[in-house]
Symmetry: C2
Subunit: 146 residues, 2 copies
């Protein structure tokens, strides 16, 4: 009744529509994240609009840096009627947290690298200061140096 035209598409079309490479789609299938609606007589995968939506969901989550395990969980939550919101929120919040941590780390690394590179640029000494900076970590300002 509310079923649209049963327009099934090949893996190639799906790939283009979701901007996800074909081998990746097959990999996701292996990981049980997405399964083709059915196969053609000749065993080729056929997908409906529903799978396209799911693949876009996965793509978006991956672009946001969620792991495939997170994605797996989110898909399960999506399928449940309700009560799943808190869990989804938790996953997102946890991920946000790790993004923040990573961000702070990268900031620090950026500073040290900048220092290293600028030292090199003004180098008048023979010994390379990039290499010196790496070898002699007493100069290092970063926290990663124990």
């Amino acid at each position: 009744m509310e079923r649209k035209t049963t327009n099934l598409m090949s893996i190639g079309s799906l790939s283009k529509a979701a901007s996800v490479k074909i081998p990746t789609i097959r990999y996701y299938e292996q990981q049980e994240l997405i399964i083709a609606t059915c196969r053609s007589e000749g065993n080729q995968r056929l997908y409906s609009e529903k799978e396209l939506q799911r693949l876009r969901f996965i793509k978006h989550a991956r672009d946001l840096g969620f792991s495939l395990n997170d994605v797996r969980e989110l898909i399960l939550l999506e399928q449940q009627p309700s009560g799943s919101c808190e869990s989804a929120h938790l996953i997102a919040a946890r991920h946000l947290q790790s993004v923040c941590v990573r961000l702070a780390q990268l900031e620090r690394l950026k500073h040290e690298l900048e220092r290293m590179v600028s030292l090199t640029e003004s180098a008048e000494n023979k010994r390379c200061s990039v290499i010196k900076a790496l070898a002699d970590h007493s100069q290092c300002e970063g926290e990663h140096c124990a």
Copy 2:
């Protein structure tokens, strides 16, 4: 003459001194980044101060996010007498560049995740907004959405 006491250490001591795990050291050996000075009668690895310095160099570079391939190159450069500075500078600058790119990406992701999470917190509707945000990327503000 300028040779210090020939105090060789086991892989365990080296590991502690450089804060690098034992299997990782063996892995680096396999990758030809560091080789033990010699072996004991019973075939156990023995290292000198020189290897400790190199391992610290590797560790520091890895902490700064250089790939093992970069490290390999930097080590080669380190061993050459001179003229290697530009190459080392190039490697560092290239890496800094990629750190900056990654940083900008992460900033964007952070914003989108924050938006997602805050939406969820104030949700009064039944359907989870985290999941909705992932499914419906027309709401998405990030550049990663094509």
